[in-house]
Amino acid sequence: MSKEIVVKAVDVTKLYGTFTALDKVSLEIAKGEVCCIIGPSGSGKSTFLRCINQLEKMNSGAIWVNDELIGYRREGNNLHEISDVEMSRQRRHIGMVFQRFNLFPHKTALENIMEGPIQVLREPVAEVRKRSEDLLVRVGLGDKAGHYPSQLSGGQQQRVAIARAMCMRPELILFDEPTSALDPELVSEVLDVMKDLAASGMTMIVVTHELGFARSVANTVAFMEAGKMVEVGPASEVLTSPKSPRTMEFIRAVHS
């Protein structure tokens, strides 16, 4: 079976001083795949996710997105860090949704979504506006285009943030605990938008504590602990009959 690989991470290692945050983490994600990364807090899930678009610099290892080496260029036997402009170009293809939304507070919902395509991709304004308005409707916020982030609930802000990532037409979207900062009753509206996105074939890597979401949407589940990738496999297997006893313990603890 020949799958088109979108993300390939090999032996990604990250140190904070003497603390090993990531210890040779490897992962492969195919096109259209939804991968949920689960694990206790401090296990390195978010750090790994942030290495994929180089918001976090790694100490060793390599990551490819669509077969393009991320953040570095090979010269002989060394990998040289690429320039700011080059890195920005690579990030265009990698969407990201943050735990704390990080919408631009001085721009309306619509302006937040239009900012990237207009400023970064230099697309025509009219086209971007149409696409952004359609996206707002798609995430259920067609009537909130002119609202500033401070006038929206957490769930609404996160849906705008997802639309902002989508409007860049990325090949991959990274979700960093997208529902952890939300009031419990607002979680499902965000998960519904993510389910819709997954169904449309978007490649997604989701760091989450929502095992229910992982069970119903993810193709692959990865369990991380103490900076190591403990287990990766089809969602049904990892969540119901994991090979590692640690994974089993974690899933039991979350469910109890």
Binding site: N53, L55, D84, V85, S88, R89, R91, R92, I94, G95, M96, F98, R100, N102, L103, F104, P105, H106, K107, T108, E115, G116, Q119, V120, L121, G146, H147, Y148, P149, S150, Q151, R164, A165, M168
Partner: protein, 290 residues
């Protein structure tokens, strides 16, 4: 006010007062203090009116050509020195927060020196620069006599602008620090370069924090330009002085100058209010605008 004598109240009657009018507490203390302060103010006004001030001089010189020309110079110097101060402030602040240790140290040194010496003294150093550098220029290319370039205007602009830059850089730096790190990450995640991120995302948000103190500094600069009178720059205070040296109406002309400073500052306060409103957009929930 009399309270109805308590009846031999049955428990039911005790609760039948909910319909009575509620009378707010009287603030006797407030009335007394207000009266005292007003009386003091009236005495002060009376002192000025019976004092030996010839109000007709104040009225006549308020729109005298020399005064208006001085006002114009004051405004010109405010704009020139403040522009220089803001440009230097932004550059120095960016140097300070850049990762480059040399640039960052130079920025720290700049703030240390130019915030450490009185503005008046700096003005005088610039004005007297010819004493140590009789000529300036690039050897072989061009050369000027320092006294020709270092006019009162240039010396005042450099002195005021460069020392202002030291203060403004601290304002800009605090503005940059006030922007949440998540904003930088979000800007990077949609593929913005450093410059674009600074221009589109960081500075507009930093402005909200920077505008009130910078407005303060502009207002301060209006008055600081009066220092330039010492080096013969013909701003409003300097011109008022020249007039009262001739006609000896010292206080009258100082009041004329005060009037114009106050007028300019009042206008600027209103302008600041509107600028603050612009940069504050999105920061409060103004759902009425929808």
């Amino acid at each position: 006010m009399t309270m109805p004598a308590p009846q031999a109240a049955s428990p039911d009657q005790k609760y039948e007062i909910a319909h009575l009018t509620l009378v707010p507490k009287r603030h006797i203390g407030r009335v007394v203090t207000a009266a005292l302060v007003l009386a003091a103010l009236a005495a002060l006004i009376r002192a000025f009116s019976v004092g030996q001030i010839e109000w007709s001089y104040v009225r006549d010189f308020l729109f005298a050509p020399a005064i208006l020309q001085g006002l114009q110079s004051t405004l010109l110097m405010t704009v020139a020195a403040m522009t220089l101060g803001i440009v230097l402030g932004v550059v120095i602040a960016l140097m300070r927060v850049s990762g480059n240790p040399v640039l960052s140290s130079i920025a720290v040194g700049y703030v240390w020196i130019f915030r450490g010496a009185p503005a008046l003294l700096q003005l005088m150093i610039w004005f007297n620069l010819a004493l140590i550098f009789p000529t300036m220029g690039i050897p072989g290319l061009f050369e000027f006599r320092t006294v020709d370039i270092m006019t009162p205007f240039v010396a005042a602009m450099l002195g005021l602008g460069i020392s202002q830059g030291a203060y403004t850089s601290e304002v800009v730096r605090s503005g940059l620090l006030s922007v949440d790190s998540g904003q930088y990450e979000a800007a990077r995640s949609i593929g913005m370069t450093q410059m674009m991120m600074l221009r589109r995302i960081v500075l507009p948000q930093a402005m909200r924090v920077m505008v009130p103190p910078i407005g303060n500094e502009v207002i301060g600069m209006v008055k600081l330009t009066s220092l330039a009178s010492v080096i013969q720059y013909s701003e409003i205070l300097h011109n008022a002085q020249i007039i009262y040296f001739a006609n000896t109406r010292v206080l009258e002309l100082l009041l004329v100058a005060s009037f114009w400073y106050l007028a300019v500052v009042s206008v600027l306060s209103v302008v600041q209010h509107y600028i603050e409103q612009y940069f504050g957009r999105g920061s409060k929930a103004v759902s009425a605008s929808m």
